[in-house]
């Protein structure tokens, strides 16, 4: 169960007029009001929480988005922006009195420019869709969240999505040139453009990662990069978590910038191996997947350097991919990690805190203790290079007590992340999930400042309410799954 703002009675009472008003703004096929067709929009990637919206609008143009926002603003109707609905933090969870504006029909690639290395795409283009569109010329779009087959670039902008390759290529914010932005009043303007680092305040940076609190983005200009000649991975398995952590430090300290540096603990290794048969070492306490880029000879040289470094830490085993196929096999288990854990546990919560990498042994040790205290299993997989943890807490959603414990366990992990100098969320966003923990990371004054900046964009707090900030005012309990 999750607390949500109480629906506005005056909005619910005017539902027929509001729906009629929306019907005048968009074609008939772009407005969903009947319960059966609203159902798919009641939740997102955080499916433990559900709430039916009042209506769903699926605009095809920026002008339609602006018209709907203007109308909702005039009518005092809350708005939930939605991309593919893959948010793991409940970023697209509706409210009973809200209109969901889904951008999945805005899925055109508007421009690809290889000389200036950018692409202009509508918000509903999938993350992988950008890379697929430019791959023929050898280019790619760098941020690669694990939901990249489904998630949409508009959602990536709103959540400042990351991925496995951030250590080298940065997150969404570092790969944007501009957006087309629509305010709650329905005003449309461009932020940024096709050039780098425009002079003046960095509104693009503020909008990125704002979780739908400030406005909606309908078009995005992304940087596209020429891909490397090739890439290959190796794995190295260690007898303890601290030793694996030391190996990570040594690799980074050597001057090599691996394009990816992933870490899995024993429960995760076992789950992935059972699922993917990737040849992972079952006797290891910790395993690293390290990927490098370059020509074949450069890959060989870098992998040899990394192998030598890992050898200093008495690895249980090491396996260097000899080919792109072997590299894919090494990645197969990691990419299927969430699914693999899903196979051994009916349900799991995926946490997303970040810690200073030096705190890794201490934090993982404490998570193991907590796992025993709560009586819930946990598997850890994360981006070791940047300290972004993804503990997967296994529970049974049919048992309310198990779910309650899993949530409490997750909250304790995130508090621990903040306590050791990290943060609540590295790439999934605050959403509804971590909203009530914001006071752990920020002072009341800092939260008030962030709230006031939202108010500068959205004075009536109509945009994606109940997310990011702890609730103020009257609330109701919304149904759990």
């Amino acid at each position: 169960m999750i607390r949500l703002p109480a629906p506005k009675p005056e909005v619910l009472a005017r539902r027929p007029e509001i729906l009629a008003g929306l019907a005048r703004l968009v074609p008939a096929d772009a407005l969903i009001t009947e319960e059966l067709r609203l159902r798919p929009y009641e939740t997102d990637g955080l499916s433990a929480y559900r709430q039916m919206p009042m209506a769903v609008v699926l605009p095809r143009t920026t002008a339609e988005v602006a018209a709907v926002l203007r109308f909702c603003h005039q009518q005092g109707v809350r708005v939930i922006p939605r991309g593919a609905g893959t948010s793991l933090s409940g970023g697209a969870l509706p409210l009973a009195d809200a209109v969901v504006i889904g951008l999945m029909r805005m899925n055109r690639i508007l421009e690809m420019n290889f000389e200036d290395r950018f692409a202009v795409v509508e918000a509903g283009v999938t993350n992988i869709g950008i890379t697929q569109a430019v791959a023929g010329e050898g280019f790619f779009y760098a941020p690669d969240p694990s939901s990249q087959l489904a998630c949409m670039i508009g959602g990536n902008v709103m959540m400042n999505s990351g991925g496995a390759h951030c250590l080298k290529y940065g997150v969404t914010a570092n790969n944007l040139l501009g957006v087309k932005f629509v305010t709650i009043e329905g005003e449309i303007f461009e932020v940024g453009g096709t050039h780098l680092d425009g002079a003046g305040y960095d509104w693009l940076g503020l909008i990125t990662g704002s979780e739908g609190q400030l406005g909606m983005v309908t078009e995005v200009t992304v940087r596209i990069l020429r891909g490397p000649e090739g890439a290959r991975a190796m794995l190295a398995a260690f007898s303890s978590i601290p030793v694996a952590g030391q190996a990570v430090d040594a690799i980074i300290g050597s001057g090599i910038i691996p394009v990816a540096l992933e870490f899995m603990d024993r429960p995760c290794i076992h789950a992935c191996e059972a699922f993917a048969h990737a040849g992972y070492p079952l006797d290891a306490e910790a395993m690293l997947i390290i990927e490098v880029e370059g020509s074949e000879a450069e890959q060989d040289a870098l992998l040899a350097r990394i192998r030598d470094i890992c050898a200093r830490f008495d690895p249980i085993s090491m396996k260097v991919a000899e080919s792109a196929e072997q590299s894919l096999a090494i990645w197969k288990g990691r990419k299927g990690a969430f699914g693999a854990v899903g196979r051994i546990s009916p349900d799991y919560l995926c946490m997303d805190g970040t810690i200073p990498t030096g705190e890794l042994p201490r934090v993982l040790g404490r998570i193991t203790e907590m796992s025993e205290e709560y009586g819930l299993k946990v598997a850890n997989v994360f981006h070791a290079g940047d300290g972004n943890l993804h503990p997967l807490i296994m529970f049974d959603a049919n048992d309310p007590e198990s779910f309650r414990k899993a949530e409490a366990f997750g909250a304790d992990i995130l508090k621990l992340c903040v306590e050791v100098g990290g943060c609540l969320t590295g790439e999934h966003g605050v959403g509804v999930e971590k909203r009530d923990l914001m006071h752990v990371q920020f002072t009341a004054d800092e939260l008030a400042l962030q709230r006031s900046i939202k108010s500068a964009f959205d004075p009536d707090w109509l945009l994606n309410p109940a997310k990011v900030f702890p609730l103020l005012g009257e609330t109701v309990l919304a149904g759990a799954a």
């Binding site: 290395r117 453009g193 030096g358 940047d386 100098g421």
Partner: protein, 387 residues
């Protein structure tokens, strides 16, 4: 001038100025005072008393320092561990006539050097800030970890705000290992169009070009009197050898190629970074434009007689020319949908013209509200950004 030695004392000074509605010129070492519009304030508040590296974890690629710490001091500390500031911030003392740039200054102005094209801007690497609002309240945003999407990102907003939204007191940012070796290819190109196409070909190659500049006036001292395109590779030694070789093949159609490495290559890139290759005359005004690279040849052609230096694949254009309103209007028109900064000019011109592009009206209204939140009495660097 006030130079408080602690964040608390600085906050007190701002609080007092806020209460008295007394404008303050906010600066670090004051090395960029010549940029944008002169601040109208009787008193200056400098962060130069707030110095020192407060945290440095080489294995975590993270460093924190107080805002007044000289960039040179940070670079020296990083160099000891074989690391560097990723965005390669410029030393503009030759251009602006004052040196000693501080960390707070390069973040507040978001000035990045040649490596920006490949590895991101100063702003991109800021992980966390501490700052003092215009009412004297201290706040933090971000943190000290490499990935963080918790709450609104005020770090980005403050970076590049020229001290008008808050006084930065401490900054945490990501660093990376410095490359073992560097190699630079210099191409004699027939004109700027060919030069930008060569840079695009290099940046569009898989060889990891980390600098892509164009010197319209060439390098006469090195026997290259016409336009010269420069492309840099930074990597392990064997990779630099391999990659410059492969890049040579890619660039062969564009012109005669010579190779620079070691100290010669490094000093070339310092000249690009610090815009000394612009060769601005003392009486010239200087502008800094950011455009899509393929627009650069037309931008340059629209400014006959101006001195030019291009970086970031052609997208960053330094312009030096007559310090007049007519020239300013020509530069603004040439920038088109790109961005411009009046970087250096006599005070009269700095007061007379828009020193930065205007925001669209709907955004300007939001901007005014956000400015009022962060600086309610409008005392922080009033007029600096043109309003």
């Amino acid at each position: 001038m006030m130079t408080p030695g602690t964040e608390q004392a600085l906050a007190e000074a701002v609080r007092a100025a806020h209460a008295a509605r007394e404008p303050l010129a906010i600066e670090g070492a004051g090395s960029k005072r010549a940029m944008l519009r002169p601040v109208q304030a009787a008193r200056t508040l400098s962060t130069r008393g707030l110095t020192g590296i407060t945290l440095y974890k080489p294995a975590e690629l993270v460093i924190s320092a107080r805002a007044g710490t000289p960039v040179a001091e940070i670079e020296a500390a990083l160099a000891e561990q074989g690391q560097q500031i990723i965005a390669e911030p410029p030393d503009l003392s030759a251009l602006l006539g004052a040196g000693g740039a501080t960390l707070g200054g390069v973040v507040a102005t978001n000035l990045s050097g040649p490596r920006r094209i490949a590895w991101g801007s100063m702003r991109d690497h800021v992980l966390g800030i501490r700052a003092v609002k215009g009412d004297g309240e201290i706040f933090r945003s971000g943190g000290r970890v490499l990935k963080n999407v918790t709450g609104l990102d005020l770090c980005k907003l403050l970076a590049g705000s020229h001290g008008t939204l808050g006084v930065l007191t401490e900054i945490t940012f990501k660093v990376l290992p410095a490359a073992e070796a560097t190699g630079t290819l210099a191409l004699a190109v027939p004109d700027l169009g060919a030069g930008v196409r060569a840079l695009s070909a290099g940046l569009g190659s898989p060889f990891g070009v980390s600098g892509a500049a164009l010197l319209p006036m060439g390098m006469a001292a090195m026997g290259l009197p016409g336009p010269v395109a420069l492309l840099r590779i930074e990597d392990f030694s064997e990779s630099v050898t391999y990659r410059t070789g492969r890049l040579r093949e890619v660039l062969a159609p564009f012109g005669e190629i010579s190779l620079f490495d070691g100290q010669a290559a490094r000093s070339l890139w310092r000249g690009v970074r610090d815009a000394t290759f612009l060769d601005a005359a003392p009486e010239d005004a200087v502008w800094r434009l950011s455009v899509a690279p393929s627009a650069a040849p037309a931008v340059c052609a629209a400014l006959p007689g101006a001195k030019l230096l291009l970086d970031w694949g052609g997208g960053l254009i330094w312009v030096a020319g007559e310090a007049s309103e007519a020239m300013h209007q020509a530069v603004v028109a040439a920038a088109g949908t790109g961005s411009f900064t009046l970087f250096r000019a006599p005070d009269a011109l700095r007061h007379a013209v828009a020193v930065l592009p205007p925001e669209p009206p709907a955004l300007a209204a939001i901007s005014t509200r956000v400015k009022a939140l962060l600086d309610p009495a409008g005392i922080l660097n009033p007029g600096r950004m043109g309003r």
